[in-house]
């Protein structure tokens, strides 16, 4: 089991509304979140 404090949630959604809402929701549970508009963007960022 991963240390929860170490876990990062990647949110990938091309719709800004959904993306930002999910980002906020996950963060409210204490998770670390990184949001991307597309998988491609995610890969480029890494």
């Amino acid at each position: 089991m991963m240390d929860e404090s170490q876990a990062i949630v990647f949110v990938v959604d091309d719709d800004q509304s959904v993306r930002e809402a999910l980002d906020s929701l996950f963060r409210s549970t204490g998770l670390k979140v990184q949001a991307f508009a597309s998988a491609q963007e995610k890969l480029v960022c890494r």
Partner: protein, 1059 residues
Amino acid sequence: MKKPEPDELKNSEERYRALFENAVDAIFIATSDGFFTDVNVSGERLLGYEPGELIGKGISDILHPEDMNRFLVVRESMIEGNARNDEWTLVRKDGTFIPVEISANMLFGQYFQAFVRDITERKRMEELSKRLTRHAALRAEVHSAMSSGEKSLQIVLQSTMESVVRNTDAAFARIWLLDETENVLQLEASAGIYTRIEGTHSRFKVGEYKIGEIAALKKSLFSNSILEIEQIEKEWAERERLVSFAGFPLIVNDKVIGVAAMFSRSAMPDDVLEAFESISAVIAQGVERKRAEDQLLLMKYTIDHVFDSAAIIAPDARFIFANDACCKSLGYTREELLKLTVHDIDPNFPVEAWEDHYNNLRAQKFLAFESNHRRKDGHVFPVELSLNIFEYNGQEYNFAFGRDITERKRSEAELREKQELLQTIFDNSAMVIYVKDLDGRALLVNSVFEEILGLASKDIIGKTEMELWQSSPTLQENAQEVIEDYRDLDSEVFKTGTPAQREESFTVAGVERTFLTIKCPIYDESGAPYAVCGISTDITERKRAENKLREKQLLLQAIFDNSPMMIYVKDLDGRIRLANRGFEEILQLSEKDIVGKTELELWGVSAILQENTQQSIEDYRQFDLDLFETGQAVEMEETFSVNGEERAFWIIKCPLYNESGEPYLICTISTDITERKRAEVELRTNQQLLQAIFDNITALINVKDLDGRYLIVNRSFKNSIQLSHEQISGKTANEIWELSPALSGDPSPSLEIYHAFDMETLAAGKALQKEMILPVKGSDGVALITKCLLYDSTGQPTSILTISTDITEIKRAEKEMRRLQTELEHAARAMTMGALASSIAHEVNQPLAGIVTNGSACLRWLAMDPPNLEEARNAVNRIIRDGNRAGEVIARTRALLKKTPTQISVLDINEIVQETITLVHSEVQKNQILLQTNFSAALPKAAGDKIQIQQVLLNLLVNGVEAIKTATGGGAAQLSVETRKYEENNILVAVKDSGVGLDAGSLDKIFEAFYTTKEDGMGMGLSISRSIIEAHGGRLWAIPNDGKGMTFQFTLPVETYKE
């Protein structure tokens, strides 16, 4: 050879030396190369050298340079052993030349020995002798020339001067002879280097220059140093290398008659002067003799050749001398006449009258009178005689001059007759005749002149024109001007000496009259003009008649020449006497082929006439003869075939009458009326057509004059206002309103509009169209009213034509059409939206999903301890944003689905394109299509209906997506939208897809209604899109891409209205 003893040798040497030194001859000894070794005293003296001075000098020092070449030849000859004896010229020490004779030989084969003798004297004698011989020849030639009788003096003198030049060393020689009347010496002969006798020195006044001085002083002048003579041009003399001059006066009987002179380039010895002097004397005598001879000859010639008779009569009346004219006039030979007396030839002087006459003559010395002479043949003729007495050698002679005056007598008689005749004419002529002197004073006028001026002869003669003009009661015009004009003409006549003719007009007693005036100069006996004669004929009437006739003639000629009618004139024999161009052209013959020909002959040459063989010439002829019979003009219409075409002619034939009132010519005037007839028929047809239209058309038509009164109306018009033609005609619109049961209400608003429209049409000068409400009772109809002007032939508007068409129904139909169009557009839009329903739902769904999630997150942020208000606020903000976003999508969709009437507003095309793209966004994403936009930043605004433009865009985007979906095979799925400025005033929107594309056949049809390439398409989208764009003033079209797919693009006009 025996060798001489020394003593003997010495003696010999001394002897030789003595001989050498004392010899009279000069002896020169020189070496073979020409240097002197020994010269004796005579030699040194001869050449003017000191003793011994010549030793060592060369031959070349003493020999004349011109002799050097000869010397070299002679030297050769001597070296060959020849002894020589030649003449040479030597140069003395002082530079003078000396002629010598030299005998020379070689001495011991190495020396020249020369014996030199001075031959100066011999030479001089030789030359003198030569000169004397030439002088003798000169004298002989001059004598011979001067005594030659036939040649002219000048030729003779010239030959003498040529003799002088030939026989002396003169460079030139001249003779001047004295012209006593002017006291001038005139050059008569010149020989040698100057031969012209007209040059600058051809005339000298006596006493002027040397030549004149010689004549004036009667003294000869001589100099061998010409440069020292005064008045001789030094430069000239030097240039001509002249050295000496000799001039002698030519004297006869102690009188100078001329000067002879010679110029020479060498000194003149005395003998030359003597010779020249002696020939000068001979020439002087010769000139005098020649002149006397010439004069005598001339006298004799004159006497013999005068026309007048000349005779010398002895005191006893015998003829002593008679000239040729005398013999001829009396008809005798000279021999016969010299045996006769005056009594024999002059009946007025018989023997018994002679003594008295002769005494009278002797007393008077001179007599002149008229008498009669009798010729040998007995004919007596009048003569004019002049006699005088002269004495010669103590003998008295009567010199008589006689002239035959038969001709003069006759011409005197003729002159008298003529003068009487002229006087009669002068007195009785109807012409105005006057003679003026050079100052314009009247010398002579006739009675007509007096009449015209209204003055009596005594008040005219001696008066100037100005005086006459001012005193005349009949002449009132501007005298100054007229008279100046007269004077100009007079001086012109005097100047040219020829008569002048002109027409002149002026007012006499208040009546304008024209005169033909001839002016001629009159000369006195010396040939000088002293008067001008004017003869004026009153041509007022003639002129007027002439002018009228000429005008008429010109007019008729112009008509005849330019008339398109065919005009020809025939005589009684049927011959063409005159034909105009129209006639020539129709016959295709030239004037010369027509005039003088009979009709029969014309028929033979004219192709046109041959076409009409059914017209018999006999009939024509008979027709003409009948015409002569009746004398009445005839008009008729006839048809002829011209180049195979039937043509109608209107023909007028009329007889022309001669002075005695008989018809002698027939004039035929034919007019081709084919076109006119055709036009008439056409016009009639047209008129019928128009009448039918006018009567049956449902439009209301009326024609009003410019005052607004109805002139013509058609049936529909009458019916619509329920009035008859009679009720309408001549009425104004106001009056009709009153009468018509169909019209109601207050007329003024309608009539004002109509009147304004009339005025507008008049001002515009062209047809105008307007839609207006029909004023007919019970109608809410609309009429399309067209008004235009009708013009008269001068282009002035005369009336206004009004055509009203009831377009109520059309209007209604249009409205319905528009409604249906809107319905259709809406339906199409709804369909498109239907196709997009899931996409649109997705567009709404997304923000909704976001709202829900944000809500959850917000609650969680708030539930934290402490609550994270910042995050909660952010979540709520997003909820609001997403809510708005969903609302917008719904609003747009609703707008597109709403059925709204067209609403025009200013559009930002980029914004509209962006909004529309939002609606298809999910559809594009769903199909994994890459959408690119390329918007021009500086795009102008357009005007139009936003919903309609969006509908077109939506249609094109959906089509694009579907085309891409349908496409098979690889390649990127791309949809791009571009906006940009297009051409000058348009905006272009292009939608480019990478879809399936269209085949060429479909490309033509895709914009047609109900044409579709899609399985579930209705075929209305593009058709409606195109009609929308075209209604906006734009264009919609499709072009295949270079690669895959199509580009659909449309334009919209730029909105020019500026906010």
